[in-house]
Symmetry: C2
Subunit: 509 residues, 2 copies
Amino acid sequence: MTIADFLDRAELGFRDSPGVVDEPQQPAPPVPVASYGRFAERVRAWQAGLDALGVGEGERVAVASHNSARLLELLFAVPMSGRICVPVNFRLKPEEVDYVVAQSGASVLLVDPELDAGLSEVKAPHRFVLGEQTEAGLMRFGTEPRPWSQPDEDATATINYTSGTTARPKGVQLTHRNIWVNGMTFGLHTRVWEGDVYLHTLPMFHCNGWGMPYVMAGLGVKQVVLRKVDGTEILRRVDEHGVTLMCGAPAVWNMVLDAAATWEGEVPGRDRVRIVCAGAPPPTRTIQRVQEELGWEFTQLYGLTETSPMLTFNRTRPADAALPAEERARKLSRAGLPALGVKLKVSESGEVLARSNTVLDGYWDKPEETAEALEDGWFHTGDGGTLDPGDGHLTISDRKKDVIITGGENVSSIEVEDTIFSHPAVAEVAVIGVPHEKWGETIKALVVLAEGATADESDIIAHCKQHMAGYKAPTSVEFRESIPRTATGKIQKFKLRQPYWAGVERGVN
Amino acid sequence: MTIADFLDRAELGFRDSPGVVDEPQQPAPPVPVASYGRFAERVRAWQAGLDALGVGEGERVAVASHNSARLLELLFAVPMSGRICVPVNFRLKPEEVDYVVAQSGASVLLVDPELDAGLSEVKAPHRFVLGEQTEAGLMRFGTEPRPWSQPDEDATATINYTSGTTARPKGVQLTHRNIWVNGMTFGLHTRVWEGDVYLHTLPMFHCNGWGMPYVMAGLGVKQVVLRKVDGTEILRRVDEHGVTLMCGAPAVWNMVLDAAATWEGEVPGRDRVRIVCAGAPPPTRTIQRVQEELGWEFTQLYGLTETSPMLTFNRTRPADAALPAEERARKLSRAGLPALGVKLKVSESGEVLARSNTVLDGYWDKPEETAEALEDGWFHTGDGGTLDPGDGHLTISDRKKDVIITGGENVSSIEVEDTIFSHPAVAEVAVIGVPHEKWGETIKALVVLAEGATADESDIIAHCKQHMAGYKAPTSVEFRESIPRTATGKIQKFKLRQPYWAGVERGVN
């Protein structure tokens, strides 16, 4: 049960089939359309290059890149040779990338040409810009790489950094077995087969594109790279490549719906495309519009980076096909039924706990956080929810962790609070998520200014953008006289959030 | 990764959905149509009954039964409680069943009412007739069973007896993990989902119905029990229950084709049913007729009981959909592409070797045979084959083991030889498989009579039927002056087979 199983089958059975179509608009010359045979050769060239560089098994190779064929190759090349891949969110600021590279102890850092200048200060023992530098200087074509000495399903394959309850993101260690089982289960429930065409509407750094690249390769599915999410461009690619399957957060599908409104002629993919929505609870209206305006099948997945991610899956049951559209959409807005092999329960305090072969091995170099997350042998999702006693479906009702999910990106409210607090004018701050039509949630900061100090909304936002990825900055700031606390001094976030979420459908607050 | 994962999900998500429809013609009253909730309750009643009987974890429970809802329940109940299920071929003679029960050391034997009289001599510490005796005397409804103390994916779940290179069948130990991975992989490649309806055209004792009952339950698929294979009855059930998926040997599909010829009106299931063919190489003509005369999708699987069984899978690729029917059928007659997670190679001597998470743990109480079968860390299939360097598909070209597969049943030629040799008139014997339109292969005995002795074909056949299951008896006997041997005294079976297979398509000889 290692990642090699997926690529080995692709190379054996789909040697001459179209494997990967790179984004034509890469800043480095795109990789020419690769059959899975050629893709596997390129994977070996990466491995032989890392061998020549002296990068040993178990060492970390960090990659900061937009979606690209090269990143896709590295998601296979690095773990298949017993090394650990660390895909880095391309939106992070230099300090943040620096933290990830340092905390993971990466010996190699590979960066996209567009990110090169911005990340020039980020150091690693070996640093390459993807494209010319790596094609000529790192990859070794025709050299047989050293095979992984002891392939082990429990070895860490990737470390994916995710914002959680702490200020700094934590590195989620996913093993080969985690990824293998997630891939098989995801493929089973979404009924993937070699007749599919997959479009990478999801960032590949994000839980390894949710693990889809692996099962797609294993089943010989053509994968089309999309560098940047854009509604019209998605429709164009669906049309051009005969796409049948995509994954993404609700914000992605809202963009597609907007683009469809001005699309000339029939929207492509009707009765052919199915989409998997995750990363935030989708509004019922989005679900219904996807079904009606696009004619695409809407399915939903719930999970976390810590669970590889698939925990539940929701699809309209055959028995429900005849229900009124709105009722179908309402049923689909729930997180879904636990995937095969996943056990869920709700704790007394209402938190969703999970057991599965896809639960993380641990947080990299964080034994205490790991023990806490896996207390009593269950993974603590930090989300509140309920299981329907009738059909076993999970509904997420409350996010316990101080995490805001905006446009599918996790943002730690504590991290944002830390940054705002570093502004000299700020005495107290609380950061919450408030509803947003397009992004699901957006970030709001409640600020108490220091006595005599002055600062306005734009000062605070600019300060955040200077120190953090732009998507982590609040979109609004409210100044308050004080922030209410409990007797023990704790801020009760749910109380702060309440007025903003009143009357909003599916208040995940 | 235990069998509980499948039934737990069925009970959680499909509590009120139709789970199992028993055969209406059971000799014991059939189990009423059971939702998966009810099915799970009955499974627990079996477990509580075994608890009360004092049957401990790791003990063997043998079941000799035609297909029935009760056998299906036991395939879950026994291994889910940490015990080991031993499904017994219902065609075996009392001596043969006795061997299986004794060799496995079963403490419980459950027999179908129809088999009760015939197997009256077969002893076990506890013996029950399925139906009234077990419903009232063994099963404990409403009693919570003792949970399995240490669920372990590497524990043996079932022991399935299979004829191999030795005279006596060997017990193949399949672990929970073997069965789990086989189920997931089978479900993935056959694209099973909750909209399917499955008909048990395959004997459930046969590698646990190839593992299908597990994944069907896990995905909430309605399972329709068929007690005895009959072409017209299969068509009737396909029509009545809206069946979409079935498995079986080529002989089953030939029976269906025969029945379709006299079926009144349109043959049911056109463009809806897909079938998985295995157990023997299907003739190209059968494939083509299934596609054309029935309009069912034909797919093929290759594997052995020792591999849970899925090793390869063959389905018409989307790119081949436009090929002429005959060429498509020819491509489909190959064993197929290794399933995800399966590694195959062909040894220097031409034998197909396999590595997979579905390879058996061992032969029960046969350490030498186990070591031999798993030499060098590869499972030795005993079959000769080639891998297409273009598309990676396996073709089985030669069966190395002295096993004859007739109508999907493995028969050890050595076992048949032993039995024939026990006839006082026989001096020498060689048993081979020869081509048969309906059964794929049929059994032929070449016999040298003892000097002065007399016996004719019917004597030899009757002698076999007296001592073995009927399907193991030769259908023809040829008397010879001598049987050619090598210098070391070995019979070269392939030479004996050659004249019969000359000109026969796909000579698996």
